[in-house]
Symmetry: C2
Subunit: 327 residues, 2 copies
Amino acid sequence: MTSTSRDVARAAGVSVATVSRAFSETGAVSETTRRKVLAEARRLGYSPNPAARRLITGRSGNIGLIVPDLANPFFADIIKGVQRRAREARQAILVADTDEQARMECDALRSLARQVDGVILASPRSAIEDLPHDLNIPIVLIHREAPGWWSVSADFAEGVRQALVNVRALGHEHVAYAAGPIQSWSGGMRTASLRRHAAELGVTLYELGSVAPTIDGGLAAADLALATPATALIAYNDVVALGAMRRLTARGVSVPRDMSVVGCDNTMLSQLSVPALTTVGVPRYEAGEAAVALLERSLADADAVPVQQVLPTSLVIRDSTAPPRPS
Amino acid sequence: MTSTSRDVARAAGVSVATVSRAFSETGAVSETTRRKVLAEARRLGYSPNPAARRLITGRSGNIGLIVPDLANPFFADIIKGVQRRAREARQAILVADTDEQARMECDALRSLARQVDGVILASPRSAIEDLPHDLNIPIVLIHREAPGWWSVSADFAEGVRQALVNVRALGHEHVAYAAGPIQSWSGGMRTASLRRHAAELGVTLYELGSVAPTIDGGLAAADLALATPATALIAYNDVVALGAMRRLTARGVSVPRDMSVVGCDNTMLSQLSVPALTTVGVPRYEAGEAAVALLERSLADADAVPVQQVLPTSLVIRDSTAPPRPS
DNA sequence: CAACTTGACGGAAACGTTTACGTCGCGCTT
DNA sequence: AAGCGCGACGTAAACGTTTCCGTCAAGTTG
């Protein structure tokens, strides 16, 4: 049905080796025969069989991408970044959704291992030591740093610091913080940063503990916050912030008049809400692109020393923050 | 580095053919030797090389998925459905994002063609006749029907009919409709259905024309709606509805007291908004699953006659609709 | 008991490339 | 004029499976 390199070789009056060389950029072939071969190939509708090529070169030409939840807009942007950079490198991407389950990360990793040249693992829920390390393909982590691993993450510590500084500048002295899942590495960064900077900024931090990273988690966080003297609430992410705003409004607490709210991630949601959410901007698209770039580097030089890239974050001020009401 | 079937064969004292048979479910091999082979394979860390397998069987074991925009929550759910069903069938999925561009659909189709066993094309922006049809792999369309093509779509006509009936039952006699992009097949279905049923239900339909399927499009739609006597607005999708609600609120028009708003798709957004959005529920997860099922059928029997599956839709009533204010 | 089926297994030929190696002209040096 | 280097190209051996035959023993039938 589909034609092979032999067909093209015959038609162009050359050997299959020459056909192969005409298609691989590096091949030593004269310009005239290359043109001849390419023309003949087009006429016959020939394109190299990727399976055969992969069998001999060992390169599959595609990379794996593992995310906790595709429906989470946070990861959607990461995928788009990966996608774009991968397309330039003529790589296809194989995506796996793990439904937020750590075990599925390992399964996905294993089943992808033989199919791809390398894997990008976004916001892994697993502990690093639980990840299989015997599948000799490069792995790049997103939003998780670990010694000896390639990774690209964002400077969450700086982002929430900016949030705290801003809220303090508005006049808030009592700030509540709703943390996310304990396994979240980036969440840990945020908590640590807030603790570190609260004292030196002269704000009292009320840690509300860990809530689910969902709307419902946000509802709970709002009630917890109202039980403290806090006049501002920093949330684990935008979704929690939105949930909190909804609950606050429902309980007659006006945002930002009675309570300022800050989210994290700057997802699409933060622009949609009313009032629009002040949030910590996290580069997602760029993280995806950077991860592919790192993967390419580790693919090019198998024993390159892993780099841990950190992308900048910055506060995006919208309408959910304001000075506290004079009491 | 990695061991091959030959290594396993040698270790187990059998031939490579037997190793192959032990791994392919169908192979005629005695239970005892199969167990022996599998044990030896596990010990050596062997797993069949997918490239070699593909080269000879012609099956790649993965399917392609092309979507206009990964960041659109609408498609995210479709992917999750595809993902789930594909995992059961031990298939990996290769995803391509076309950035809403019709041309990229063709490019993606072509570059995927040799890599996958079949392709699922969600909400194609291209005209059917522009799609390449010479790449002899099965294609399943989502949310687009065309004679001679496999497809799974939703009964948008019924969904918006229900919306119209409901709004009419609440007492609205003047209803505005903001349509989406003209290339949208499903949008066409909605428009046609509204036109068909408006008269018989005794409602006057104000067609606002086509707006961008974005928040900004929704802002525009709101202004257009306010220029008509309409007391209810049906929007192309949830995003447009949200944009409209925002604009209406900004202009001092209370939703749903002064104006009822109905969205379409029942995306996550519709639950997040305040007030929560009444919307037409469209099965996305199920559509993804169904598409894979269809793909499997057409893979199993190459000249099966294409089926066009239609999934049910139903109105989800939330807080953005209410009886019109007595004037 | 001979002939025949049946099931388990090995040998070997594919599948369609890439690439190491060899050959062959051609132009250049000495 | 002989030797040499070099670029272009062909030959053939991989890559790791699956699968078509063929063989052989064990059971089954007439």
